[in-house]
């Protein structure tokens, strides 16, 4: 199912042949104020290499907001975001994709949800769409209305739709929250395959087990500030900040 041949035909994975690459992504002094409250507080971050970066932190730490800022869905109050050394333009954003915690599916069939994105990118082809649906295990559901799928299936469809654009960076905002373990595992397999095939993954999760399985590096966010950005093994074995130690031990409640 996660055959590299699917990537080879261009149906999945990061688009190749486009230059220059949009990595590294960098945030400098990123600030976000909402209604006078500082939700992101001077974040500096560099996403340089492919692989999976997991953003962790307690509720209200600003993880989802940081993801939206990096993807350009909301403008920062202050600070600067750049991708590939250039500004976060529409052209750059078109080479990124995002999967939300609650999948937003068009009121159409499963196949039509994929076709919409493929057509948008001028890549509409039944073969490509079928390969994507096969990749996420939904090829037998192609004709079904998307909203009749189960929660896990809907999230897999959202993931297939994101992969349909061939993103160089894929943001995932707690995509497995409230999914059963089997659905979670399926999503992790698909995300892992995309990461191994060159897509930069930025993944927000609360699940420590999931983070350990997926992460190459971990960004630990607390009260809108990055307290740690380090290799995953190091973060889980020897967290440097007291907040991270408390979080990993289940002692932080917000």
């Amino acid at each position: 199912m996660f055959d590299a041949a699917l990537y080879a035909i261009g149906a999945l994975g990061a688009m190749t042949g486009r230059s220059p690459p949009i990595l590294p992504g960098e945030a400098h002094g990123l600030v976000l104020d909402v209604d006078g409250q500082r939700l992101i507080d001077g974040v500096d971050l560099r996403l340089a290499s492919p692989g999976v970066t997991v953003i962790m932190g307690p509720n209200g730490a600003g993880k989802s907001l940081l993801l939206r800022l990096l993807h350009g869905l909301i403008p920062p109050t202050a600070g600067r975001i750049s991708w590939g050394g250039g500004p976060l333009s529409e052209a750059v954003r078109a080479r990124q994709a995002m999967v939300f915690q609650r999948p937003v599916l068009l009121r159409r069939s499963v196949a039509a949800n994929i076709d919409f994105v493929l057509k948008l990118r001028g890549k509409a082809a039944a073969e490509r769409r079928d390969a994507l649906l096969d990749h996420v295990g939904l090829v037998d559901h192609a004709a079904l209305p998307a909203r009749l799928l189960s929660g896990g299936e809907q999230q897999r469809l959202a993931l297939a739709r994101a992969l349909a654009i061939g993103p160089e960076v894929l943001f995932l905002d707690e995509p497995t929250a409230s999914l059963d373990p089997a659905s979670m595992q399926r999503i992790e397999q698909i995300v892992g395959a995309a990461g191994r095939n060159g897509t930069k993954i930025v993944f927000v999760t609360h699940e420590q087990g999931q983070a350990k399985r997926l992460a190459d590096d971990v960004v630990f966010l607390h009260r809108g500030r990055i307290l740690e950005h380090t290799a995953a093994d190091r973060f889980f074995d020897r967290p440097e900040s007291e907040a991270a130690r408390d979080y990993l031990a289940g002692r932080i409640l917000l």
Binding site: Q96, V104, R107, F116, V117, L120, A146, R147, L148
Partner: protein
């Protein structure tokens, strides 16, 4: 009471026998109101979508005006269209007054704000759901608008049928610009008004029965559509 019973019996006989005068009036009513609905949809659905999606100075005022125009009195619309199409009016040269076209124009003006205002609300609700995903996918505004119109199609069909219901049931505008001319501009509502004033209750009742049947059919259609689309999770 006895007279009413007789009139009702004659009315039923007219309906059952598919009386030619009755059919002509019903046919013209449907032609005028369906045409008005189609023209209104062509204008009002894109208008509703633009107001729903676009952010521009004065948008709030546009929404208030659209909502207020939903309550346009038909006789006022009839009077305005009459003034436009009469010989002394700017479009008098077109000689459209007292023709079905004039009636279509009047009904179109009457129901366009209704369809635009209701479709704006439907599309805006859906847009709130889709907006962040569309922004993430860098969907251009015209593609977003087309997608919203398509995905809201079942709800918008209900809106269109509401406009049709308003058009087919109104009498004030069409009697002013159509003149209720026999075999030319006589529609169900104007005929009911005329026949009632003449005391010919049978034809008036027969037309009333047909009008009620159409209202019933339209509402049944709307309910069937909504339940079908809900069953398939398209709403």
């Amino acid at each position: 009471m006895h007279e009413l019973g007789d009139a009702f019996a004659i009315a039923m006989a007219l309906v059952v026998s598919a009386d030619s005068d009755l059919l002509e009036i019903v046919g013209l009513s449907l032609r005028v109101s369906v045409s008005a609905m189609l023209v209104s949809c062509a204008v009002a659905l894109p208008l509703g979508a633009v107001v729903a999606i676009a952010r521009f100075p004065g948008r709030g005022a546009v929404i208030v005006v659209l909502n207020a125009l939903m309550g346009l009195p038909p006789v006022v619309v009839g009077l305005l269209v009459y003034l436009m199409l009469s010989n002394a009016g700017p479009f008098g040269g077109l000689r459209l007054l007292y023709t079905p076209t004039a009636m279509i124009i009047a009904q179109t003006i009457l129901i366009t704000p209704i369809i635009a205002a209701l479709s704006r609300q439907v599309i805006e609700d859906l847009h709130q759901e889709y907006a962040e995903q569309f922004r993430s996918l860098c969907v251009p505004a015209h593609t977003a608008m087309a997608a919203l119109l398509w995905d809201a199609r079942y709800s918008l069909l209900t809106v269109a049928l509401a406009g049709f219901g308003r058009a087919v049931a109104e009498v004030g505008a069409v009697i002013i610009v159509g003149g209720n001319i026999n075999h030319l501009t006589r529609v169900m509502t104007t005929a009911i008004a005329l026949e009632t004033s003449k005391g010919d209750l049978a034809l008036a009742l027969a037309l009333g029965i047909v009008l009620l049947a159409i209202a019933l059919l339209v509402n049944s259609g709307v309910m069937a559509l909504r339940s079908t689309s809900a069953r398939h999770a398209y709403v």
